[in-house]
Symmetry: C2
Subunit: 169 residues, 2 copies
């Protein structure tokens, strides 16, 4: 972004909460606000890396999901469920990926309601190359302390399970 701020705005917000008699919820407010901001920073980094490939994060996620699917294809609804976004967002992403020649729609062999999304060979190639770029330019230097990453995975995993995202251990 721009120049670093002289002070942490989230720490300021926390102080404001405490000063207004909401001290009991000041810490969770700060934690939640920090997650919002962190997501924003990470998303921006990811989009910068994906831009040269003509991809956005939403489209990349779908491409990557398909590349790990058994035969490179999934029903729209299944993609929606696994990526945890509305089906309409999948429709939107598939439209654009299809225009770019990276995926293809095909009818489900036995269920007339279902549409399968399938990687083209260009799509598979781009999925691999963009993943390599993300690994090299974002994930390998995430900016989190080494020990902090495991902490994050555990804390956020607990949160997500608690929020009803998934069930297993």
């Amino acid at each position: 972004m721009g120049t670093p701020l002289p002070r942490d705005p989230i720490a300021d917000a926390r102080r404001n909460w405490e000063d207004h008699g909401w001290a009991e919820v000041a810490a969770p407010m700060a934690a939640i606000t920090a997650i919002m901001r962190t997501q924003q920073i990470l998303l921006a980094r990811i989009e910068v890396v994906l831009k040269p490939f003509g991809l956005t994060f939403a489209r990349y996620e779908l491409l990557a999901l398909l590349s790990f699917a058994r035969n490179g294809s999934l029903p729209m609804k299944k993609a929606s469920t696994l990526l945890q976004v509305h089906l309409t967002s999948i429709t939107n992403a598939v439209d654009r990926l299809q225009d770019a020649g990276l995926v293809r729609r095909s009818p489900h062999p036995t269920d007339g309601r279902t549409t399968l999304v399938e990687l083209t060979s260009e799509g598979r190639t781009l999925a691999k190359r963009s993943t390599t770029a993300l690994n090299a330019e974002v994930f390998s230097a995430s900016g989190f302390g080494p020990g902090d990453i495991d902490q994050l995975i555990r804390i956020l995993g607990d949160f997500r399970r608690n929020a009803g995202d998934f069930m297993d251990s």
Copy 2:
């Protein structure tokens, strides 16, 4: 959302990364993906609480920021900087808050380029009431373990400082 998934899709993604020779970055990938998903869950909860007030999170943030400002007013640019969003997003939010009678634009007394955004009394009232609702319905039961909240604040604070968000301790 819908029904909980039988398995954690992020844990699956992590396994996929490991199985494809990207084991060194599998953990940070999982942590980053978890942050994305956690943000999505939290944002949805917040929006549900704010909806009865006719607010979105973007508009609430601006309203809350103004309510803590000295005289309830700030230059657009200052709000943009503190909230870390594009100036055009502030323009957009102010347009809608102004239509709702919650804020008012006024010229800066000495700088003709600058527009001040100022809370109306309705805006100040709504800021207070919506904050009370968020405190009661989201922050007081954030879903994070008690000890985890401080961990999160530290880890994400380190990350944000490292990312150039702010400079102080």
